[in-house]
Amino acid sequence: MHPELGREVPVGSIDKELRKLWAEDEARTNASLMNLAVYSEAPGALEKNSEAVRELTAEHACRAILIGIDRHAPEASIRAWITAHCHLSHGRKSICCEQIAFALTGKATGRLRNTVFAHLASDLPLIFWWQGELSPIFEDRLYSLVDRFVFDSSGWADPKASFAIIADAVTNATRPLVVQDLAWTRSFQFRVSVASLFDDPLVLKALPEIDTVEIVHHPDDRVTGLQMLAWLAVQSGWRDGMELDLAVRRQSGGKQGFSFESAAGKAITATLVSDEKSAALGLVKLSGGGVTVSVSREAGAPHLVRRIEAPGHFLEAPGPVDPDDCAGLIGEQLARGGKNSLFRKILPRFRELLEK
């Protein structure tokens, strides 16, 4: 029924069936550095996520556990499938990662924790990739098992409410919970590029003079734009500005204005522009003191463009881009690791901006 998911097996025999799977081909090497659980309540997500895991396991060896949930189905049922994703490592050895897929329906969704998490590879961290809106299933007994909780806030209908839940989870978790928003990961290379432009002493000197910020984003990626703005404000030490320019502050068309004030009291006007033709993040531009620095990306372009414009000083250099797909973003994030402390640092300011 679901050939992409492999062989359907009785839930009570998963471990036995996995052993059989490996016994069938001894030439393969089973590798695992983490448990990766992928959770979705969207119909057809198991097959789609199996493909995403196939991509991910090329660089990140893991035991993958796919979870497909239908909370509203009338009947309670649990079904399971097993398969392995194999890749040739350096053209030599076939490296394989196990995948167990679960489909839970109706009241059986309440058995998620007991059934699914009984199949974690012991001693390895659990990365939990939650897809879609947060639901009642996201509660403390779930996230208390998780080491890194990955989500994508860009598609959330009510980001204010959902981020409040996330913030509570971070505060209340019984063990350190690293949260990773793919909307934030999407701006990583932009942030690296902005930082690298400010390595230039001329540009750094002009930082206190910055008075204009422009961020262009795709309409689906407003959260990414706002998080970028929050990062700029937090790192630069900008306070919220006086309501000097209500016309700018007001939302109009695809634009939203914000005002800040630097530590030295300089007024800063920031504009978030939503553009259908833009990449997720299309432009971050800071100007002031005769200096303009910008990082931009055309939709679909394979590189960012980093630019400094100042009297007698012009520099333009390409930079790498973040992947456009969620699996790619997760892969990048897993490669970087860390506790994502910067995201936690900007989270309160971002939530304030979200309120505006």
Partner: protein, 510 residues
């Protein structure tokens, strides 16, 4: 004022924009390693905007010709492929400067050229001089840089120098070179490159030892029986390398630098911090604590040298060392060396460290194996077969980077039989993403002013002090230890086997 956007962003030292001036720019190293490394850093977004490359060499070339040659090689060797769009922007930052290495006027023109490039392309004046020329020009280049004032950075900028191996050919020449370098650049601005230290597994040595609680308590003479460091190559003198190698030999070419550096990382005490000098202080203590083989008799008893005779490697016939192209038919240069080293410290008292390096061995491999002492045999020695060997921790540097631990296990069955089993960690299996090339990491560190993975003056000189005694016994004493022989494609001479057998050990089978 620090850049606030760097805070919490990436956990590494921050490379700064600079112009990289490469001496010996038409050479293989520049084309195959250095420029592809900088290009890959650009691809990965690690390179700060504003980094420029200026090739300095004797041949007449235009910027365009220089770029074209680099592009051709980059297409073949770049780790992350060749992207036309990136290259077209990247190559604009590449320039060429023709001059003899000894021509003072050429360096004056270089200074003017660097200033002009900075003016045109917005550089702030940081300079990274990379001396990748033949070693006989090191002196001249450094002296001329000083004469032209290029060793002095402008206000708020820096001028650093990276020196490629060989860093001298003995203690005297190394000391002389160090004097020349330090007359020109301060020690803190001097980066003596040893690309082995840029390899992922070499960097992982400190992590393995000091970030895992289970190893360090055992990392001493009480629990460790012996340590072996092997570097085997399945190549000989192909491509005309006999000319260089015959003047150098295995001991000076590999042991003095790469293998003693690995030894330092294995044997050093925990540094007080991860600063460059914190780490290097501890590394140099290891070299300083090596028992000196300072008489021909001691050398004969602890060091074996050998040359390969004709044989077969990978199924193909290969000539003997003395029959190789550009090798003296009466050469007394060793293509193989095996050493027994003793580190006279509290931690390592009585533990032999064996190092072997050879050409035309059966396969290419570099690894460190730490052999633990056998457990008390009161329980299992009565069994037929006894306990099959002790625990061995193997750190594979190349190829197939990884770590394995050999343990003893019971064979399933009704009888009690013990056999060794292996827990194996392969970088390539666990981390699908390829590691950056050693030169990428090292260039970035030099741009960031982080010298941790570079050799310091005293490390180099102490290593030469140790090596010189052996070279002296071989080439200048009245009773030099003999030159042994091994058939190409075998694991070295029988004398090397006897060296470890005398201590009740055998070389690890790779």
């Amino acid at each position: 004022m620090t850049n606030p956007f760097r805070e919490d962003l990436v956990s590494r030292s921050r490379p700064e924009p600079c112009t990289v001036v490469i001496f010996g720019a038409t050479g293989d190293l520049t084309h195959r390693k250095l420029v592809p490394a900088i290009y890959n850093l650009a691809i990965d977004g690690e390179l700060p905007p504003g980094v420029k490359i200026l090739g300095f060499a004797r041949r007449e070339k235009s910027d365009a010709e220089f770029r074209k040659g680099l592009e051709e090689l980059n297409r073949k060797v770049s780790r992350s492929g060749h992207d036309e769009a990136i290259w077209s922007t990247f190559q604009e930052s590449i320039h060429y400067h023709q001059s003899e290495f000894t021509d003072a006027d050429g360096y004056q023109r270089l200074a003017e050229r660097l200033d002009a490039i900075d003016r045109e392309r917005g550089g702030k004046g940081n300079r990274l001089f990379y001396i990748a020329s033949a070693p006989e020009f090191f002196d001249d280049i450094l002296t001329q840089l000083k004469t032209a004032g290029l060793n002095k950075a402008k206000d708020g900028c820096w001028a650093r120098v990276i020196v490629e191996k060989p860093f001298g050919t003995d203690l005297k020449t190394a000391q002389h070179l160090n004097q020349v370098v330090n007359r020109t650049f301060q020690e803190k601005d001097t980066y003596r490159i040893d690309h082995y230290l840029g390899k992922e597994t070499a960097q992982n040595l400190m992590v393995l030892r000091f970030a895992n609680a289970i190893f360090e308590p055992l990392w001493n003479s009480r629990y460790i029986d012996q340590v072996q460091i092997t570097c085997s190559e399945n190549l000989g003198m192909e491509g005309g390398r006999g000319g260089y190698y015959d003047k150098s030999g295995a001991l000076r070419d590999m042991v003095q630098n790469h293998l003693l550096q690995l030894l330092s990382l294995v044997a050093m005490e925990p540094p007080t911090d991860l600063s460059a000098d914190g780490v290097r202080d501890e590394k140099v203590k290891v070299i300083r604590s090596l028992r000196q083989w300072d008489t021909p008799e001691k050398v004969a008893a602890n060091v074996i040298r050998a040359q390969y005779a004709a044989g077969h490697v990978d199924g193909k016939p290969v000539p003997g060392y003395r029959e190789e192209d550009r090798v003296d038919p009466e050469s007394m240069t060793e293509s193989y060396v095996a050493l027994r080293l003793m580190i006279d410290t509290w931690r390592w008292s009585g533990v032999p460290f064996y190092i072997r390096m050879g050409k035309q061995l059966p396969k290419k491999a570099t690894e460190i194996s730490v052999h633990f002492k056998a457990p008390p045999g009161v329980l299992f020695n009565a069994l037929s077969g006894g306990v099959p060997g002790g625990n061995v921790l193997v750190i594979r540097i190349q190829p197939d980077e990884g770590i394995s631990l050999r343990m003893v296990s019971k064979i399933p069955g009704t009888s009690l039989r013990l056999e060794p089993v292996k827990m194996d960690f392969h970088y390539a299996t666990s981390f699908g993403k390829s590691s950056p090339e050693a030169y990428e990491r090292l260039l970035l560190d030099a741009m960031a002013g982080d010298a941790t993975l570079f050799a310091r003056r005293d490390e180099v000189e102490e290593a030469w002090r140790f090596i010189d005694h052996i070279e002296h016994a071989w080439h200048q004493s009245n009773n030099p230890p003999p030159m042994a022989s091994y058939v190409a494609g075998t694991w070295g001479p029988k004398e090397a086997d006897e060296l470890v057998q005398a201590d009740g050990h055998v070389w690890r089978r790779l």
